[in-house]
Symmetry: C2
């Protein structure tokens, strides 16, 4: 849980996830356009991977990154739920 929020705390990493929403992409495509080096992007990918937010699959020379929506959902909505946010079934409020 901490790992997910830590991953989301960086704007570059959030943008990567948003890009991935449109579909799987290679590390190269994913890194393209960001104003930092490839190794730096690779480090960001590693953070996302360790948080479980993305998975990888090799395809020839490329590594394809996939978004793992369920981890994102569990963290965001799970925590929001503790505060009665975002759901019709509040957890903590009796009646």
């Amino acid at each position: 849980m901490s790992d997910v929020f830590k991953a989301l705390a960086d704007p570059t990493r959030r943008q990567v996830l948003e890009r991935l929403k449109a579909g799987p992409k290679s590390a190269g495509e994913l890194a393209d356009g960001f104003p930092v080096s490839k190794p730096t992007m690779s480090a960001h990918f590693a953070v996302l991977r360790e948080a479980g937010l993305v998975t990888t699959e090799r395809q020839g020379k490329s590594l394809i990154y996939h978004l793992n929506v369920s981890v994102l959902e569990e963290a965001l909505l799970g925590f929001a739920g503790l505060f009665g946010l975002g759901s019709d079934t509040p957890k903590g409020d009796p009646q």
Copy 2:
């Protein structure tokens, strides 16, 4: 937005927010029971304050902390919404 997720990335700070859900509390009450020093807790409070997640109000000798749910909601549900999570009105999906 980054500030909110950065604040949420620490388990102590998440617990503080959860405690605050039950109602406003003084810094002392809030710090009570955590296995770290008061100054350390004070630093955590500052992070939460700067993220806009809590507000303070002086009451005599005590500083009373209030949870600001709307900031939490905007960050969690706002970002979740980008991925079509947690709402019946998905933003990015045509049809």
